[in-house]
């Protein structure tokens, strides 16, 4: 007999966990609905203030653009790299894995000062003096997340057999990568992309220290200047990030549905 009800002990933990996540959100929501003049419930004025602020759309779009660029560059760099390491250089895997931990060890402030120093002077202005510069830092920050997600994905498939089967059927390296390998690590690449998106949309330290105005620095600015709109903005950004992730998830999963069905049947 299968248990039909959730055990009471797990229910307690479920409620506790839900409360832990939901109470701050609900509290923020209630705060954001207060009227800016009287301080009483309920008014949507704070939300209006945010949506009317041109900085809101501008910084949001900038952060989103940087996030997408970071995702694309990371995947283009790391999918072939991790594939090659798994296929031909398995002994390098621990080396890369330990390199991937560096962004956790090196504080963002060290990273940004180092990068400003390295790129200063010789790099072109469109890169160094625009927020494009941040993409370089964000690819470094995203490295561990993208690497470990892809690494797990490549470990789950039989890289050698798939590659050799594809090649003995006459496929070139490019075809093998595009038609056989990438479709099989799609889910892994997707989860790496989701994490990267979340990181870039919320990254404050580097953007702030390099003096660029992205969405997180805008949130911080509103936070310091306007109390109620700050709460409203927090919820809006939460919703936007959540939606963006859902979007990537839906876009990436659609053609992959078959994959699950086939594994179940095989």
């Amino acid at each position: 007999m299968r248990r039909r009800f959730i055990a009471p002990s797990s229910l307690v933990w479920l409620v506790l966990a839900a409360a832990y996540f939901l109470i701050p959100l609900v509290a923020t929501l209630l705060f954001s609905l207060r009227d800016s003049q009287t301080g009483t419930c309920c008014s949507l004025g704070a939300y209006g203030t945010i949506f009317d602020d041109p900085q809101f759309a501008k910084t949001l779009w900038l952060s989103f653009k940087l996030a997408v660029e970071t995702v694309v560059i990371s995947l283009v760099l790391f999918v072939p790299t991790v594939y090659w390491v798994h296929l031909k250089l398995p002994r390098l895997r621990p080396v890369i894995a330990s390199l991937a931990l560096l962004p956790f060890v090196v504080p963002p402030i060290v990273l940004v000062v180092g990068m400003l120093d390295v790129y200063g002077g010789w790099s072109p202005g469109w890169f160094y003096s625009t927020p494009q510069f941040l993409v370089a830092a964000y690819v470094v920050l995203a490295f561990p997340y993208v690497f470990f997600a892809l690494d797990a994905g490549f470990r789950a498939i039989d890289v050698h057999t798939l590659t050799e089967a594809s090649q003995s059927l006459g496929a070139s390296w490019r075809t093998t990568l595009g038609r056989v390998i990438i479709p099989n690590v799609r889910t892994a690449a997707l989860s790496g992309a989701l994490l990267t998106l979340a990181i870039v949309m919320g990254e404050f330290t580097i953007a702030s220290l390099a003096a660029f105005h992205t969405f997180p620095t805008y949130i911080q600015y509103v936070n310091q200047t306007q109390a109620y709109p700050a709460a409203a903005l927090t919820l809006i950004s939460f919703g936007i990030t959540w939606f963006a992730m859902l979007g990537i998830l839906v876009a990436g999963r659609r053609p992959g549905g078959r994959q699950m069905a086939m594994r179940g049947g095989g």
Partner: protein, 130 residues
């Protein structure tokens, strides 16, 4: 279609372990050969050298008299049946069958026909879309 395959003085060593110590094999067109032996005696190594997934330390592989020792596996026009499963999990059964034909740039209609024939010949015509 049958081709001759020759292995000349093929050697392959992994670290200190010699897998092949200069084997010579000559196969006429249409001839059938079984390699028998205990695990680790080099059967798979020999096959992988013929298919091109591995390079010999010395010696040559000849097909129809042509030296293909350094030809890439994708250019050898050979078929290899793998020990472990080797279906592409991202494709349907029919797409798995079709893959090799697609790589050889066969027209869509010809591919569809051949895939149907092949699936029917093994009684899998119902399973093509899975």
């Amino acid at each position: 279609m049958a081709a001759t395959v020759e292995l000349r003085e093929l050697r392959r060593t992994f670290g200190d372990v010699p897998a092949l110590q200069g084997i010579d094999v000559s196969l006429a067109g249409g001839e059938f050969l079984s390699l028998l032996g205990p695990s680790g005696c080099g059967k798979t190594t020999a096959l992988r050298l013929v298919a091109g997934f591995d390079r010999p330390d010395s010696g040559r592989v000849l097909v129809d008299g042509k030296d293909i020792t350094s030809v890439r596996p994708s250019r050898r026009d050979m078929g290899m049946v793998f020990q472990a499963y080797s279906l592409f999990p991202n494709m349907t059964a029919a797409q798995n069958v079709e893959f090799g034909l697609r790589i050889r740039k066969l027209a869509r209609a010809a591919r569809a026909k051949r895939v149907r024939e092949l699936l029917e010949s093994v009684g899998l015509e119902q399973a093509g879309k899975r």
